[in-house]
Amino acid sequence: MLLKELTDLMGASGDEKEVREKIKEIVKPYVDELYVDKMGNLIACKKGKKEKPKVMLAAHMDEVALMVKSINEDGTLSFSPVGGVDNRILVSKTVKVGEKRVNGVIGAKPIHLQKREEQQKPLDFDALYIDIGATSKEEALKHVSVGDYVYFDANFELLGNGYVKSKALDDRIGCNVLIEILKRDYEYPVCAAFTVQEEVGLRGAGVAAYNIEPDFAIVVEGTVAADVSDSEPHLVSTELGKGPAISLMDRTTLYDKKIINKIVKIAEENGVPYQFRRIASGGNDAGKIHLTKGGIKAIAVSVPCRYIHSFNSVAFLEDFNNTVKLVDLIIKNIAKEALI
């Protein structure tokens, strides 16, 4: 399964090479032009029968991870997050350190030796460390180095009835959508940008958009779904099983309501389920793309994912399929609906 291949790859912000090389190999047979720009974005373009309008698709290759900050005298490693990582999910996990993917574990003081109040307090990044089995700083340095990226050691697996679980669904699931689109032919030129460094401040997307110069951009994300046990209906943001989530507003973009209405019309006319992303927090590559050059029309369509930025996020496969359908329909209807 392609989604398994993509999510099992390790690619933190600034270290997207493994993901880039894999996607390059996958999309090569389908595209007319394939290049890596100066930021490291992978750009894959297909010509259309017509020259215009040019459509840009964007999905980010990078995932949240950790980085070795210092190597301690006892051979343990201190670390910082790369992107938004909740420190409370890290204790009692296994990780892979550096290019050699050295095994490490994040342990903690045993419950037997804790004071009662310690169990109520999360361990912050300063209190956490990685144990690779090295007995001294000198020995650790033979295997790892300061600045090494540290990856969540978690695998893709099918879950329950039609669900999947893995790390990095944000945004390898978006990369997967783009790959599916590149397998199809369109009337208009389509450029897929597999962007870098989204998780540390949307660093890649603006550069990609500048280079591509599209008339219209569709950002495909894996976004937060909070349709969980105890959340209020107005706080769920998105729900699994309800189709792709269309963004209205987030911390980085106010999406054009006229365009949103047309997207909704396309979905409804074609019987593709959709929902709105119903929180204003967070942001995505559209934030940079829509401000590039003199301004680019941009929308964001997302596959809802529970527990994003963790070792085990969960998505519903039918939502992925419907996201591919919706993106496909948007591209096909771009002129008819006068989206630009």
Partner: protein, 346 residues
């Protein structure tokens, strides 16, 4: 015998206290070539007997088979499973774990909680409470109810990992490491001459109050017993003299018979086995505590494997300590005299 692989298989098996039966087949298979007889008592403890040349006296080894875990408390209308703990689980080790719910079949799940955007900044300063976590198995309530019932147990799914320098990490090393030590001891004893019958016992329900040790010691009626468990090794925030990779920790204190302690230390010295002394001023918190007061009293010893991050799913030990513990026990047993009368006097 590939001991690391044995340990991997043991740790990747699942047996929460009271639900250890799933590991019996693996144990029976692994112990088949190193023991003469397998029996089970009413409580479910498994006994592997390796006969001695004389068989007048009985030496009991005990390592517990059970591990801490979780148990299904409720299935909510949205299809999320609420749970509580079996044994001493630190709630902070649970968010974002992969789990197996042991229902009609083994079902994969992940532990979730409210995403950060739904929390206040004050919430982020607090550990997530177990009441606020749930297991997501990707099914509706109706689908779940076909497969999972309240009271089903849950374990963390964790692949065994090899670290540098023969360190290994996994879940349930407490006390599957002790089970591996028993296997190593029996394997060593195949090469040695020993007078006494050796009962290697995989005990149940240690984590909820050393219960299997109580019935198994009564049933074996041993002349000498040695429990094998894990103990806290030095790590950040843990002040102890015991360190990993420095050899088995031999317990000393009220729970330990002085002659057994001395015998173990002397054996370690004689065979140049690295070892450490573990001071146990009170309850040892191991099967040794129950065995010592079985029937008319049992001269009891304790050999512990130093371990970091106890009761997390990344418990870490050093393979050398495990192998040395097995050898120490084998040499100790092989060196016991034919006549034990008088040997264990105070």
């Amino acid at each position: 015998m590939d001991y690391k692989n044995l340990l991997k298989k043991l740790c990747e098996s699942h047996g929460v206290s009271g639900h250890e039966r799933g590991i019996y087949d693996l144990l029976k298979e692994e112990f088949a070539t190193i023991s003469d007889e397998v029996t089970e008592d009413k409580f479910g403890n498994l006994f592997f007997l390796k006969k001695g040349t004389k068989g007048k006296y009985k030496v009991m080894l005990a390592a517990h088979l059970d591990e801490i875990g979780l148990i299904v408390k409720d299935i909510d209308d949205k299809g999320f499973i609420k749970f509580t703990t079996v044994g001493g689980v630190d709630q902070r080790t649970l968010p974002s774990q992969e789990v197996i719910v042991h229902g009609k079949k083994n079902i994969l799940g992940v532990i979730g909680s409210k995403p950060p955007h739904l929390l206040s900044s004050g919430d982020m300063e607090k550990a997530i409470k177990i009441e606020d976590m749930y297991i997501d198995v990707g099914m509706s309530k109706k689908e779940i109810e076909e497969l999972i019932k309240i009271g089903d147990v849950i374990t963390i799914k964790r692949e065994f990992r090899e670290l540098l320098n023969d360190y290994v990490s996994g879940k349930a090393l407490d006390d599957r490491a002790g089970i591996a030590v028993m296997a190593i001891c029996l394997e060593e004893l195949k090469k040695l001459y020993h007078y006494h019958d050796v009962y290697a016992v995989a005990t149940l329900q240690e984590e909820v109050g050393v219960r299997g040790a109580t019935t198994s010691a009564y049933n074996v009626e041993p002349d000498i017993a040695i429990a094998i468990d894990v103990t806290h090794g030095k790590a950040r925030g843990v002040s102890t003299e015991i360190e990993l990779a420095r050899g088995p920790a031999i317990g000393k204190g009220p729970n330990i018979h002085p002659a057994v302690y001395k015998g173990l230390v002397d054996t370690a010295k004689e065979y140049n086995i690295n070892h450490q002394i573990e001071p146990l001023p009170g309850p040892s918190g191991t099967d040794a505590w129950a065995i010592q007061i079985s029937r008319g009293g049992v001269p009891t010893g304790l050999v512990s494997i130093p371990l970091r991050y106890m009761h997390t799913s990344v418990e870490t030990v050093n393979m050398k300590d495990i192998i040395n513990s097995g050898k120490l026990l084998a040499y100790y047993i092989a060196n016991l005299p034919e006549e034990l009368e008088g040997q264990l006097c105070y």
